[in-house]
């Protein structure tokens, strides 16, 4: 076999090992963020692509139904490409507030310069060294992951990641609100820097919604 192909598989193995180290950090950091809030639970939602799940007609509970032959994306196998950690609802100052942190490992598709970018064709993505990785913080009271125009979560996230502005504050006439801000992953290099992000998002929510999202 060619040396080039050997090298390519070395890179694949290295990529997985790097991802394992990366994801263990993401999990530590998500847990750290949640411990600074009143939330005590956590749920996950895979974003960007489908989940792999069993159906009633699967031969065994451990086996999932796959349609590899045609419409299955390679991204379906990669949970941490874009993943939402939903903390659920908590009563804060007599309001039921929801909160999530969304892991965006690569915004290359959303910021693509191609005419017709395809989520399955990485050659249409913005190059990796020009793209970014983020943790998106979002919280809402009777409004969720939206702005004035876009009230569909997926469409809102697409728009939010494509735009240069890193913050979105939505508030309607009833006072319901949804506040979203993205932070580059590099800002979670240390506990001190993570604390600065937490206090920044806490201040944003305090300024616009008047509540203290984080514990002191």
């Amino acid at each position: 076999m060619s040396k080039e192909l050997d090298n390519a598989f070395t890179d694949v193995r290295n990529a997985f090992r790097l991802l394992a180290r990366y994801q263990s950090r993401v999990l530590d950091i998500i847990n750290y963020i949640r411990e600074h809030t009143p939330y005590t639970d956590m749920w996950g939602v895979k974003r960007y692509s489908d989940i792999i799940h069993t159906r009633r007609d699967c031969p065994d509970r451990d086996y999932a139904n796959l349609s590899v032959w045609k419409d299955m994306w390679s991204w379906d196998f990669m949970y941490n490409y874009m993943f939402e950690f939903y903390f659920g609802q908590a009563k804060i100052e007599r309001k039921t507030i929801e909160m999530s942190v969304i892991q965006v490992s690569d915004d290359g598709f959303y910021r693509s310069m191609a005419n017709n970018p395809s989520p399955t064709d990485i050659s249409t993505f913005l190059p990796a060294n020009e793209s970014n990785s983020y943790l998106i913080f979002t919280a809402g009271w009777n409004a969720w992951l939206r702005d004035e125009v876009e009230d569909n979560y997926e469409a809102f996230l697409h728009k939010f990641l494509a735009q240069s502005k890193d913050v979105c504050v939505y508030k309607n006439e009833k006072g319901h609100w949804s506040i979203t801000k993205r932070y580059p992953m590099q800002r979670f290099a240390s506990q001190k820097e993570a604390d600065q992000v937490i206090s920044d998002f806490g201040k944003l929510v305090k300024d616009h919604a008047g509540i203290n999202l984080f514990n002191n």
Partner: protein
């Protein structure tokens, strides 16, 4: 925070000192000393074997004669091991707050109370800008060893990982494991975390070669 609540001390480093050390003190004596000794940055002067913990006191009140204090001297924690005595002075932050006059006072006040019947060691937990051991210029020149809250937590987590490793954990060790987990929680609720941040995956240059993408494209269309 049992001891700090009992002593009506609910500010600064006191609840932190209380919750961390009261849980750690439940460990078997030799494990407690091993964690603390290893957490100190320079620890060659500290004995490897401490023996049994005979007594301990949070915030004892000592005679202030010959110190700069007028009423009393109050170290954070005093532990009497079989082989030596240990004074612990803790500060809330890891980087500032310790000062040598306070160490001198505590060492002098220790002599007022206990004379020189036993060797005495001093550990300053947190609060040190400089991590190297300092010798306090008194007649008997006691060394002040230093550690941070984080360096103690790292040792606790390391020991926990070691105890978790064997496939079968005997009952006696499962209680040690519970104490280590509880100690870690005591650190966490006081803002000390031993978690991996992104700093740890820094790399001088990207690991994955762009050529691999083109290789895959040419071999597997």
């Amino acid at each position: 925070m049992i001891y700090s609540t009992y002593h009506h001390k609910d500010t600064y480093e006191d609840p932190k000192t209380s919750s961390v050390f009261e849980t750690m003190l439940m460990l078997p004596d030799e494990l407690f000393w091993s964690v603390l000794r290893t957490a100190c940055f320079d620890n060659e002067n500290l004995p490897l074997v401490a023996g049994q913990i005979e007594d301990y006191q949070f915030w004892p009140h000592w005679d202030a004669s010959d110190t700069s204090n007028s009423i009393l001297v109050e170290p954070d924690l005093f532990i009497r091991f079989q082989a030596f005595d240990l004074i612990i002075e803790a500060k809330f932050s890891d980087n500032s707050g310790q000062y040598s006059q306070q160490w001198k006072n505590e060492i002098t006040a220790y002599s007022n109370e206990y004379g020189n019947e036993k060797p005495v060691y001093f550990i300053a937990v947190g609060g040190n800008a400089e991590k190297a051991t300092e010798i306090i210029a008194l007649s008997d020149g006691v060394a002040v060893n230093k550690c941070t809250w984080l360096s103690v937590l790292i040792q606790v987590s390391k020991m926990r990982d070691e105890y978790e490793a064997p496939p079968m954990i005997p009952n006696i060790l499962s209680s040690v494991l519970r104490i280590l987990n509880l100690t870690e929680l005591a650190f966490n609720i006081n803002g000390v975390y031993n978690i991996h941040w992104f700093d740890g995956i820094k790399t001088a240059k990207p690991l994955i070669s762009p050529y691999s993408f083109t290789t895959f494209k040419s071999f597997f269309r």
